[in-house]
Structure formats: C-alpha cells, structure tokens
Symmetry: C2
Subunit: 351 residues, 2 copies
Amino acid sequence: MKPGYVRPLDLKRGCVDMTHGAGGRAMVQLIAELFARHLGNEYLGQGNDGAVLPAPTISGKGGKLVMATDSHVVSPLFFPGGDIGCLSVHGTINDVAVMGATPLYLAAGFILEEGFPLADLARIVESMAKAAREAGVPVVTGDTKVVERGKGDGIFITTTGVGVLPEGRDIGGAKARPGDAILVSGNLGDHGVAIMSRRENLSFDAPIASDTAALHGLVAALLETGADIRALRDPTRGGLAATLNEIATQSGVGMILREKDIPVNPVVAAACEFLGLDPLCVANEGKLVCICADVDAERVLATMRAHPLGANAALIGSVSADDHHFVQLTTMLGGRRIVDWLAGDQLPRIC
Amino acid sequence: MKPGYVRPLDLKRGCVDMTHGAGGRAMVQLIAELFARHLGNEYLGQGNDGAVLPAPTISGKGGKLVMATDSHVVSPLFFPGGDIGCLSVHGTINDVAVMGATPLYLAAGFILEEGFPLADLARIVESMAKAAREAGVPVVTGDTKVVERGKGDGIFITTTGVGVLPEGRDIGGAKARPGDAILVSGNLGDHGVAIMSRRENLSFDAPIASDTAALHGLVAALLETGADIRALRDPTRGGLAATLNEIATQSGVGMILREKDIPVNPVVAAACEFLGLDPLCVANEGKLVCICADVDAERVLATMRAHPLGANAALIGSVSADDHHFVQLTTMLGGRRIVDWLAGDQLPRIC
C-alpha cells in the first residue's frame, strides 16, 4: 500500500471538499471512482493531460473541424425531464450538429462547490454518461476544480464539442435568403417552463418536462434528404425569438411568422400566460429551427415528422426582404407584431 | 434603429448583470463590444453556435487530434506576473503541447458573477487575447453565462484546446522506463508562491512573479532534437510531486530525484519555508517536466537552456525500477525521503 492510502469515496453521504480539486491523491480518487467509472472509455482512460483521438473522417475525405463550447449553470440542477448532466451533453452536441457537422468528442470541465453532495455528483455524472453513450459521442477528457462554499452553486459544467464537417457543406446563420421557409421541429418552450415550474414550485394538470435531447440524428436525417438547408439552430436561451433575430441580423433579412402555425403545448401556453412569459422567448433544449429553400420545405417537414424528435414539426413562416431585419408575427387575430429579442432577463440560468 | 436599442457598454463603471447571460440583446452587445473586440478573428467572427475550422495538417499528412480542457478558478484573479485571462490560455495550450501536439484552436466558456466589474472583465479578456495572439492559437468560439451575486466568484473561465499530433509520435505518462532521465525546464514553485503571497498580502525583498507561459514553443524545440522523449508534463496543481507520482503510477516505475539539482529561486524557497509549503508540491504554470532516454538527456538539457523559457533547466534525477512506484528524493544531507503527493489541500484555487 502506498503511503497516504485513502478509503473509498462515500458516495452516499460524502461531500465534495477542497482536496478534491487540489491535484493530489483525493482528486485522483474522485476521478477514478466517480468520473472514470461512469464516463470511462479508451480515450478518457489514457490518463494524460489531454486525449489523443483518431480523426478518421478528416484524414479520409478532407473536411473541416467544428468546435463549440457551452457552460452550464442551470438551476435547479435536477428538473422534470433531465438534469445539468444530460443537458451539458445535449447542449454541446447540438451546437456542433447545427453547423451541419458530425459530433465526435466531448470535453467536460467541472467547477464544484465545497460541500456539494457526492451522491448528487454521481447522479449527474451518470446522467452525462448515459446521454453521451446514447448519442455515441464520448467524453474524452475532463477537468475538476473545487471552490469554497459560497463561491459557486453546487456544480457548473462546461462542455466542449468537436465534430467534422464534410467539405462543401455550408450551413450558417448568414445564409438565409428572402423566400426561404422557416420550420421548427416541435413544440416550443417546454424546457424553460419545466425549469420555471420547478423553481416556482408550480404543478400543472399535465406534467411539463424539459425537451432536452441530442439533435444530431435529426440533423443528419435532414441533411440526407439533399434539401437546400441554409441555417440550422437550436433555440435555447432567448428562445425562438432570439434565434430568429440573430439569423435575421446575420443574413440581413426579415422574417414573417404565422402565430397559428407555431406549435406550443397547450399546458405550456397556459403556464406561460400564468408566469407572464412569451413562449417564443422561452428556452428549448431539444428543438431545431431550420431555414431552407422554399421548394424543399415540404420534404424537410416530412422528414422531421418521421423522426422521433420531430413529431410536432411545423412550417411556421418565411424569410422576407427587409432592410430593418425585423422578425414579425402575424397573430391569430390577423394583426402583426414585431418579435423582438429580450432586452432583459426573463429566465435566468435556464441552461 | 431596431427597437430595444441599448447604449454602448460602460466599460469604466459598468457591471455584469443577469441580462448579459440571458441570450438576448444585452448578451449580444457584451459579445460584440467586449469579447469580439479583443479576441476577434475570422473564426469567432462567424457568429454561429460553433466555429468552422480548417484542419490543414490532418488532411495533408494523417495524424491525430488532441483535445484538453481546463476550468480556471484562480483567486485572486490578478496576481504578480499574470491574471486568470492569460493563465486560462497558457494552461490549456500547455495541456495540448505536452501531448506532443501542436495547439491549433481554443474555445472559452465564461461563468460571470452578477456585479462583476466590466472593467475587470475587459482587462481579463484583453490579457487572454494578448496571450492567444502571442501563442498563435486563436480563441475560435465561446460562451457566456451569468450567475446571481453570491453564486460565483467574479469569473471562472473554462478553456478547451484542440491540436494535431503527427502520426507515430507517442508521448505520455505511461512511457517512462527505468534508466530514463528526468528534467525540469526551470525554477519550481514561482506560480503558487506568487498567488499565495498576493493572497496573504506578503511582500518579499525580491518580487515573486508567476511563471505563467505557453510552453508549445519549448516543446517543439525539444521534439525537433529527435531525442527519445517518453513523457512531458506541466507540473501545475500539486506541483512536481503530483506530476511525478502520476507518471510513476501510469508507467509502473519509481523515481529518484536529487534535491541539490532541483532548481528553486532562493526567494521562493524562503517564502515556502515561511508559508509552510514544500516547493515540490507548489503549482507551476510555465514549466515543463521531461522524461527522456538517458542517452538523450544532455541534448534535451542543452535545448531547454537555449530556449527563453528554459534558462534554468536542470537534470534532476532518473527513473528506477520500483514495484511500489515510489518517488524518492536524495536530500542535501544525503538521506532519502519519499516525495508523496498531497492528500490534503495545501493551496486551494491556484489555477
């Protein structure tokens, strides 16, 4: 036995303490007994400061790298339909996928607060591992830091994803053109309302669960159709409103949406009314916005609806020529209003 | 003018507020006026959820990807010789470089605390930008989240690096063999003591500054010698003691160091004595540990010493056959002691 041997982690009653981030034996133990145990794969198992990874697609056929990062600070950590663990896997996979790339690898940086229960940490890491396994995108390297009690909030997780983009595929927020169709892959606002209802201790007749999901399979299905897809986005923070305003600005276009065609779960719509939220500004974590050539809209819609994550997909409007880059909504009553992105902070720490 | 126009950020007196992380107009403004302004490059400028990047070396010659991530929570944020900004760039570049890879791209995730002064944020982002520019490794994508006052500690930065590793190069902690030489590229303990002295408000006759630096140039110089390099590491948290114990465990070997040959700045040594620290356990942020074939040791040493970051490099010991995987030190007085890694937390939040 080496000097300084320590007992196995108490994953039932133990807590994170400052030694778990100090680079010594306790940190090595936390990595071995918790992170490696759940997330373990051949890359993470290399045990070096970084992971050495094959780059098969790139070496074979040319292509480009795609890299995306997302820090996750969602509160509460556990919510109906998910937790910060699976969310941090899905969120970054989606950021890579909406570039049209195939996500290959994830890195995860953990900032833990002293006193955080190891049982909660284990539950979160298990959830990450399950999400990564189901998505087929391994967590290949990681880092753990610990901050003193009161200097953090339980756990923050920053994930970074790397993917490959085939040569010639060019999808991005600056590609929308007047006349293009705008589609969403399903009901809007589920994630944000699930978080808010948990935070405010609200319950509804029908439970509202986060839609957190990895969208790369759905993206691949859309790309396989050969449709002329201009832009893909997952409308997270700021919801559909922020996403479409971003694209409108990047592309120098306007957009006109039809309120009647925008899918929102009636329970979510009622909750939004109660909470004073606009479902168009509420975060989603498993929905796709797709802008494509109008001629391909029906094909894209049919492909979305045939996918398990796109059952409620809808064609919700079209891109317009507009020097003001306004996103406008034709309301149920036939009027028009501007869909602005939020200036303030309707929903803090939603992801 | 679009509705909801906001005034330019007040970078002198302004503070981070919750809207800066909400996905709306305020966040877009923070990104444009602060992050993009300093860190801006063609990749960051794409403005999508991820960056599309060329993968030139890989497509041309085969090779592998290397990926490393590090969350930075150093306290204080500004310290002699550096700050959390440049540290977060150097730390991750070094993690990629010690794998023998050429660092290509960085991603950065920011977790900001409500109320954090924008002037400090700007200073930190400028420092990141300078470090990235000097290293030739751009920050290509990023993310910003804001947590409520009291739920963070000013700023945490998670950086992730991607690099390329030429086919056939195989460097790692599991490659050390009995008889190999152990070298360090310079004085140990500067970073940790600089942080601790600032934290404890100590001043010394001669100022002690952090050694924070990007080591990829030094690593490249060592690799160019053609020496048989088994393992490279930057001895950060836990210092040389943790790094060598990790390698000893991974490789299934022991190590014997000569105390008299281990370079420590006398002022740092005195400070360590005063603070009750062991310089071998104190973090470095710009030093390299190199384990190479004994026959190549002098060549590696000369190359280190010829490099600006290796002036005080030294040959400090050798790898031994030892089933216990002990790292041992022959002291100045001729005795031997075991150099264990820390079980506790000597220096919290050092990086």
